[in-house]
Symmetry: C2
Subunit: 355 residues, 2 copies
Amino acid sequence: MTRVGVNGYGTIGKRVADAVAAQPDMVLRGVAKRSPNHEADSAVQRGYALYAADSDRLGEFEHAGLPLAGTLPDLLDSVDVIVDCCPAGVGARNRERYASHDVRAVFQGGEAANVADASFTARTSFETARDADTVRVVSCNTTGLARLLAPLDEAYGVEKARVTLVRRGGDPAQTDRGPINDIVPDPATVPSHHGPDVRTVLPEVDIDTAALKAPVTAMHTHSVNVSLGAAPTADEVRELLARESRLFLIPEVAGIDGAGKLKEYALDCGRPRGDLWENCLWAESISVSGTDLYLFQNVHQEADVVPENIDAIRAMTTDIPVDESVTRTNEALGVGLGGRLGEELTPNGPVTADD
Amino acid sequence: MTRVGVNGYGTIGKRVADAVAAQPDMVLRGVAKRSPNHEADSAVQRGYALYAADSDRLGEFEHAGLPLAGTLPDLLDSVDVIVDCCPAGVGARNRERYASHDVRAVFQGGEAANVADASFTARTSFETARDADTVRVVSCNTTGLARLLAPLDEAYGVEKARVTLVRRGGDPAQTDRGPINDIVPDPATVPSHHGPDVRTVLPEVDIDTAALKAPVTAMHTHSVNVSLGAAPTADEVRELLARESRLFLIPEVAGIDGAGKLKEYALDCGRPRGDLWENCLWAESISVSGTDLYLFQNVHQEADVVPENIDAIRAMTTDIPVDESVTRTNEALGVGLGGRLGEELTPNGPVTADD
């Protein structure tokens, strides 16, 4: 049993904590949090041992009636791996602290690549992370692009990928984010940093990215073009991608026209928090013109890196092969959407869904 | 065991179906749906018997790979009560059909009051619905207002209630609703229909309402003023309202500043679909100036009527007292938010929640 702690119990941290707790070969020793707010309350409701990340704020937890198991150093002394889910940049400042407690650390994609020995997705970098002391799980967008480009590169060769990322402005609970009525080039310089970040896990792939942000909270949307080294049919590409366990091809018959209905479907299927751990690709958007592939995919910024964090822990601490780790993670979480409709990947005609 | 069917498996219908299935004294015989879309797929995934609401569209279900148990008349022949969750106005057209199958019917608040023998909330109208053949559960906003005004009227007398309703433009999955960048008086005439609708369940209460709609999807927000027949302190009002099982007083220490964090908290607490069955009142907004009470409350338009539908079924078909029905419904669903923080209704001072 790998003993795991989570430092930072926000959007990513609480999901990673639940995912660790769901693995039969891991034990969640506790979570560390700065503020005694509603998220800390929900951690206690879930029965997680709660540690104060900031020892100056113990009184606030007491005032809020939230019982503490200790402070962050206590948690670090009791685990094999700490997953750092602090806001971007804070992880780098925590790095030495983790090392001084002789604890392996997983960082998130908001940190610079040099925060860790290796950058990671399970699809591209499992062996690279073997026995590493520190690993950085790449960001949600980079994870989504790597999962898509890796099988395309293996099957056809990727000559060049060109992607426009229409990013969500903030997460659903972030009342202080924007824009509220604009689509903002962000950064206005092209290419954006996302392309180089993909190359931390797929070094041979040539990719340029342009990024915007929009007044939505549910998901990121990618408009993807890939110039391939071959000219497959669209159906061949669909079949290739449908074999990837962390890609969900949205069947046209489902009547899912955007992130709202995607999240609705996830909630209706009983997914915790409506999480979409898979890339969500519109099956009918997959088109090939010569050697040029086009498609739309959505990435759930709160969720797609969660199974990757689990696989990163296994890569660092065990000798389990990648396929077995991914299968274990998928089964413990329930990765793999579709139901009956999931079998309808190439519907024969349009179906009205208007009730 | 009361045998229940649900006609219309959309936003309300799927939630009512789950709630019926969770009751130890009810059995869900099936759900009827017009389109074989992602919601129909999720019904099959949940193991619900699926009936085609429109017998002209059987081929579409077959094409989508969704197995049918029959059509709507088959469902009506197998239940004691049908809960109509069709779009507003469709319920009135279904009324005769239900009567011809000798089935009791529960309608939703989108229908006119005269669709049924009685309008209903459990807090105000349980006995009125006894043995009725048809009952209308009032709308989400009316339910939220009635739950608030009933205890205030009993404790202090309501001289006059004046409420501004800032309504959500559409539900999260409704990509075709607006506004997208405006706050629209809707209707522009004052008072809106909500005040008269409250009087279908609280006939003696004097209430005027003004309604707007805003570019949000998560919840409705009410800005409430009530001129009382007495002059309680704000703390006395808080204590009164905290005793109501379907009112959740949001403690200031929780750091919940809007609908986004409310939904986040509900999801973190494991609520299905992040549903908030309770009115959500900001505890610190409860203020009294002389005999004038002010407060803000949020109403989850997808969820607050769900426990009311369950109680309506019990009122129509059993002799169970109101308190027992409400307790059974609350326990089966898990109504009652708060955790440790819920005990902190009158925090002594501000707590920063900024991580």
